[in-house]
Symmetry: C2
DNA sequence: TTGTAAGCGTTATCAG
DNA sequence: CTGATAACGCTTACAA
């Protein structure tokens, strides 16, 4: 439990001033490279570590980025965070991560914590029931930059990072139509959230473009839980004319619904072709494997973090690029393929 | 982008000394409760927020706890973290969370980051290939407390929080035996990790206690990935005498294996009864629903965080309680029930 | 019950 | 290229 080494200790031993040591350690250009080396090696030898608190106090910044996400327990989010961590580490930023558990109340509390922690910037994906961004006003007022990703909401001077959910919904639906589906059901989440609203839009557009009518009875808004998937299967079972295609805005729910449909004697994709969303690993657990939309999680995390850091370092004015669209990919698997696939039975 | 309010500002307006303001804000007993109220309301009115960096610098502590986990993308881990966040927030501690992605190399890097961030304490669940705790020596030397949870390793002066994995493995296996299984296969992970080693021990003990012999060919060490589950199904398919019971140390892998077994014509639980581990939501997606061992994630997170915080606050000497065992529960579902269940078909 | 003043470890400014 | 010095905002002996 020895005392921490400070730049004063190094300075004393090297007969230099603390200022010089500080500059050397920060690779200041005005320092002789010999002294730099000498200081660096002495610092390592003594086990010196910079005191972030003194440094933060002095510089009035924290080198910390706050991250607020709805939940941590999805494969997608885990890859997003891995991407953010990678970029943040490389740029010597720390991450403070918290989950809102889909509740705006907790999101408000998280925002307050982040504010009190004086994060330099914020990366946020909104909770299901968030209706406005008022709880981030303190950040906006102080000019602390914030980037929204995936679950976004239009906001002046705030970059958004998403995939084109309308187009993805369109592609998913069009794929089902191409496979011969004519009565396609769409099961989605709270359409307050852009991701669900947009996928629904894409679904409707695809139907219209292919000369099919939009039947509101075939659009189901739920919370996309396992339970919702089961109930939907039950609902379909009791429909006078059940759908021949099903587009679910979330793999997990799609998978639970598929299971129940199969148990009720529906054949997939024969009776009902199914497409999910996210390319979660469960999509490859279910039989038949689930067709889905691949979401570039790692990339989304990296780009969000990098954009924020660039902005903080003055390398990129964040409000010039207001929305960044990432590429997605429709991954076709057996659950929607009516033309016999060449892969595993 | 106004200037931050400090205790000096409050002091000036209230004709008090900064010291009094500081004490009042920290609820120091020696301050008149009237002045306390007056200061508190003024502080709120002015939008004062404490500067953690100045405070940390002065107090030589950070009120920050570091968390290192193998991955964030499991339901289990998400609930653990929710529990930790809850406790930490209530006690005014911050959490810095990072994932090792099951790699000891990244775990080492994470530990270094945590050390440089001067966390007051550490909550760790080890990566798959971690062989020793040398990378935490800096913490031990400085007397920074560390608690291991779930993926643990014996270490002096370091509390461990786990369930009794031996007993849980024993119960899972015994349950299969009670359902009439006589050739029970066990599929588990890297037995460097206590959780897998112990579940294997429990499996062997249960067999022996019930007069069954342990057949090494029925013990399969893998990485418990989806792929491993599929391969295991293939392996079973080609066995001269396939098992009639299967105990997998992880729900996700169990589920992938079950899917492939079904596709290969095995009936579950008829031909092979299956038990998983963790009570992951996927266990209720697969048909038949998977029997599994419920893991108390939220509780584990809460207890880990609370124990660490108690130690930091001097309320509990951490080395007196060296291992905390939490209760688990065998959740019996259709995948292992040969006596017809009363629930959904 | 309140005030005074020193100091936590850095970094920025100004001077040399 | 290097040094002296003054902050940054807070806490805590010690005094009153």
């Amino acid at each position: 439990m020895e005392k921490d080494v400070t730049i004063y200790d190094i300075a004393r031993l090297l007969q230099l001033s603390p200022a010089t040591v500080s500059r050397a350690l920060n690779d200041h250009p005005a320092i002789n490279s010999n002294t730099k080396h000498m200081i660096a090696s002495k610092a390592k030898e003594m086990g010196y570590r910079s005191n972030m608190f003194a440094s933060n106090l002095r510089r009035q910044r924290t080198s910390t980025i706050g991250v607020i996400v709805p939940r941590l327990d999805s494969y997608f989010m885990s890859t997003v965070l891995a991407g953010m961590e990678k970029v943040a580490n490389d740029a010597n930023y720390n991450l403070i991560i918290s989950q809102s558990l889909e509740s705006v109340k907790k999101e408000v509390a998280n925002a307050k914590t982040m504010f009190d922690s004086r994060v330099d910037g914020l990366l946020v994906s909104l909770a299901a029931d968030t209706e406005n961004l008022d709880h981030f006003n303190t950040f906006f007022q102080k000019g602390i930059p914030m980037i929204l990703f995936d679950r976004i909401m239009p906001q002046k001077n705030c970059t958004n990072i998403v995939i084109d959910n309308v187009k993805a919904g369109y592609d998913a639906t069009s794929h089902l139509i191409e496979q011969g589906c004519r009565r396609i059901m769409h099961m989605t989440g709270n359409i307050k959230r852009n991701v669900y609203e947009d996928r629904l839009k894409g679904y409707k557009l695809a139907l219209m473009d292919h000369g099919l009518t939009v039947d509101d009875a075939l659009v189901q808004l739920t919370n996309l839980t396992r339970q919702d998937g089961l109930q939907m299967a039950d609902h379909i079972k009791h429909m006078a004319s059940p759908p021949d295609g099903l587009f679910v805005a979330n793999d997990f729910c799609a998978v639970s619904c598929m299971g129940a449909l199969k148990a009720n004697g529906f054949s997939i994709p024969g009776d009902i072709a199914v497409v999910g969303f996210n390319n979660d690993p469960v999509s490859q657990v279910i039989e038949p494997n689930l067709t889905t939309v691949h979401y570039p999680g790692q990339e989304m995390g990296e780009i969000a973090a990098q954009s924020l850091i660039n902005h903080l370092n003055g390398l990129l004015r964040i409000n010039t690029t207001n929305t960044i669209l990432l590429n997605y990919e429709l991954v076709v698997r057996a659950s929607s393929l009516r033309t016999p696939p060449a892969e595993s039975r």
